[in-house]
C-alpha cells in the first residue's frame, strides 16, 4: 500500500479512537454501545473456548457460587449491623441527631483526596455542609446533595480546611491536607496542623473540631486525629505539626450524617445562684445522671 493513504487512514483511526476515549471518560452512551457489541459478538466465542458445559458439575458449581454469594451477603449484613451498633453507641454522635448511611461509591480525585457517595440524600433530611462521622471520629462533610444520595468530601481533600482545638488546653489551629508548599514531608494519609495562636503541640495530643455556627459544616468536639510529629521550630510565626486522622479514608463503610441543629430561640440570660433558677439546664442534668 502507498504510504500516504496509509497515513491518512491511521490519522482517521487515531482521531476516532481519541473521540471514543473522550466519550467514554465523559460517560457517554456511545461507549456503552461499543462495549455491549464487543460482549455480544465475542462473548459466545469465549464461552465456547472455556469448555463445553458439563451438566452435573456445572449445576453443582452454579449452586456453589449461589451459596457462597448468600453466605457472603449474610456476613456482610452482620458486619454492617455491627458497625451500625458501634456507630449508634459511639462518642461522635452522642447528643446529635443523625442519619445512618452506607458508602455506595468512592472515587479518588486526580488532584488528591477522596470523595464518597452515601445512600442518603435530600429526602432523608441531609443538607449541604452536614458533618459526616464514623464511630471513630470525623470523616468529612457533605458537599452535594441529590434526592437519594449525597457526596462527601473526605477529610484531607485538597482545599478542605478545618478549625480545630488541640490538646488539653484547647489551642486553636487549623487542619488541612499537606500541600506542595509544606516545608516538611508528611507520611501518606496524614494532615498538616497549623496553629493560629502561639503554642507548642505535643506528640499524642488529641485534635478535635472547633465547631461552626449552627454546626455547619463541622459540629463541635468531634475527634479528628492525633498529633504524631511536631515540625522543628524554624522561627516561623506559629508552629506546625503532623496529624494522623482517626478515620482511614479507604475503609469508611458505615457513617452517620449529623443533622445540623440551627438555633431558633434566643438564649435566655439567667441569674447566678441556686439550681432552681435554671429551668432549662436542670432537667437535662437530671436525665443524664
Amino acid at each position: 500500500m502507498d504510504p500516504t493513504p496509509q497515513r491518512r487512514v491511521l490519522a482517521g483511526l487515531v482521531v476516532a479512537t481519541l473521540a471514543l476515549l473522550g466519550a467514554d471518560l465523559a460517560g457517554s452512551g456511545v461507549s456503552a454501545a461499543v462495549r455491549d457489541a464487543g460482549g455480544a459478538v465475542l462473548g459466545p466465542v469465549q464461552r465456547a473456548l472455556s469448555g463445553a458445559p458439563r451438566d452435573e458439575i456445572t449445576a453443582l458449581e452454579a449452586q456453589n457460587v449461589l451459596l457462597r454469594a448468600t453466605v457472603a451477603d449474610q456476613q456482610r449484613r452482620l458486619v454492617e449491623r455491627e458497625r451500625l451498633a458501634e456507630l449508634v453507641g459511639g462518642e461522635p454522635v452522642a447528643g446529635h441527631r443523625f442519619v445512618a448511611a452506607r458508602v455506595v461509591a468512592s472515587d479518588v480525585s486526580p488532584v488528591g483526596g477522596r470523595s464518597l457517595t452515601l445512600d442518603v440524600g435530600d429526602r432523608d433530611g441531609v443538607t449541604i455542609d452536614s458533618t459526616v462521622v464514623t464511630a471513630d471520629g470525623l470523616a468529612g462533610r457533605v458537599v452535594a446533595v441529590s434526592p437519594w444520595t449525597c457526596d462527601v468530601q473526605v477529610l484531607g481533600s485538597t482545599g478542605s480546611v478545618i478549625g480545630v482545638r488541640v490538646g488539653p488546653a484547647g489551642t486553636l489551629a487549623t487542619v488541612s491536607s499537606p500541600t506542595s508548599t509544606d516545608r516538611e514531608s508528611r507520611p501518606r494519609g496524614s494532615l498538616t496542623l497549623s496553629f493560629v495562636q502561639p503554642g507548642t503541640p505535643v506528640v499524642g495530643d488529641t485534635v478535635t473540631t472547633l465547631g461552626s455556627v449552627d454546626e455547619r459544616p463541622y459540629a463541635a468536639d468531634i475527634v479528628v486525629g492525633t498529633v504524631t510529629a511536631v515540625d522543628p521550630d524554624r522561627g516561623q510565626l506559629t508552629r506546625t505539626a503532623t496529624v494522623r486522622p482517626v478515620v482511614d479514608p479507604d475503609a469508611i463503610e458505615v457513617v452517620a450524617v449529623l443533622v445540623p441543629r440551627a438555633r431558633v430561640a434566643s438564649r435566655p440570660a439567667v441569674p447566678a445562684g441556686g439550681a432552681a433558677s435554671l429551668p432549662e439546664v436542670a432537667p437535662v442534668k437530671g436525665a443524664a445522671s
Binding site: 500500500m1 504510504p3 487515531v14 471514543l20 464487543g38 462473548g43 473456548l49 479518588v108 486526580p110
Partner: protein, 166 residues
C-alpha cells in the same frame, strides 16, 4: 483495499491471539502476570517488515480487537493507543537489507517496553502510584514466546508475499 490471504490470516491471528490471552491461557493455568502479549508479537512481526506507519496502523486496529474482547477495557480506547505506540516503536526497527532475527527481537523488546511504559503512565494517571514489577513478568514472557513465534510469523509473511498473496 484488496482482501488478501495475508490480510485475512493477520486478522485471524490477532483475533485468536486476543481470545487466547483473555480466555484460554488463564484457564490453562498460566498466571495472569505471565500471560504473553501474543497480539503484540503479531503486530511487531508485520511492523518490522513494513515500517512505523504500517506498524502503528496495525497496532491500533489490533488494539481495538483486544479492547473489544470481553472484559471490555476501561477507559475504552486506551489499549488501542498504547498498542499503536508499540507498533510504531517496532516499525522503527525496519531495515530492508538486514533480515536477521536479532533485529526483530530488538523490535519486539522495544515495543514491549513502550507498551509497558504506556500502561504504567495510565496507571499512574489513574491511581497516583504503580508497582514497578507488575508488568515485567509479562514483558519477559512476551519476549520469550516471541523468540519462538517471531521466526514462524516472519517466514509465513515472506512466503505469502513471495507467492503474491500479500
Amino acid at each position: 483495499m484488496r482482501v488478501t490471504l495475508l490480510g485475512l490470516s493477520r486478522t485471524a491471528y490477532v483475533v485468536v491471539a486476543a481470545l487466547l490471552s483473555a480466555t484460554l491461557l488463564p484457564r490453562l493455568g498460566v498466571p495472569g502476570q505471565w500471560v504473553p502479549d501474543l497480539v503484540l508479537i503479531g503486530v511487531v512481526a508485520t511492523a518490522v517488515l513494513r515500517g512505523p506507519v504500517h506498524g502503528a496502523l496495525v497496532g491500533l486496529v489490533a488494539g481495538w480487537v483486544v479492547e473489544l474482547v470481553p472484559p471490555v477495557g476501561s477507559p475504552l480506547g486506551l489499549t488501542p493507543l498504547v498498542l499503536m505506540l508499540g507498533g510504531l516503536a517496532g516499525g522503527l526497527f525496519q531495515r530492508v537489507s538486514s533480515r536477521t532475527l536479532g533485529r526483530a527481537m530488538l523490535a519486539l523488546a522495544a515495543a514491549g517496553v513502550v507498551v509497558l511504559l504506556g500502561r504504567y503512565a495510565s496507571t499512574i494517571a489513574a491511581e497516583g502510584s504503580v508497582s514497578a514489577s507488575e508488568g515485567l513478568g509479562r514483558l519477559a514472557s512476551t519476549v520469550a514466546v516471541g523468540l519462538l513465534a517471531l521466526p514462524v510469523l516472519l517466514a509465513a509473511d515472506r512466503a505469502l508475499v513471495r507467492r503474491r498473496l500479500g
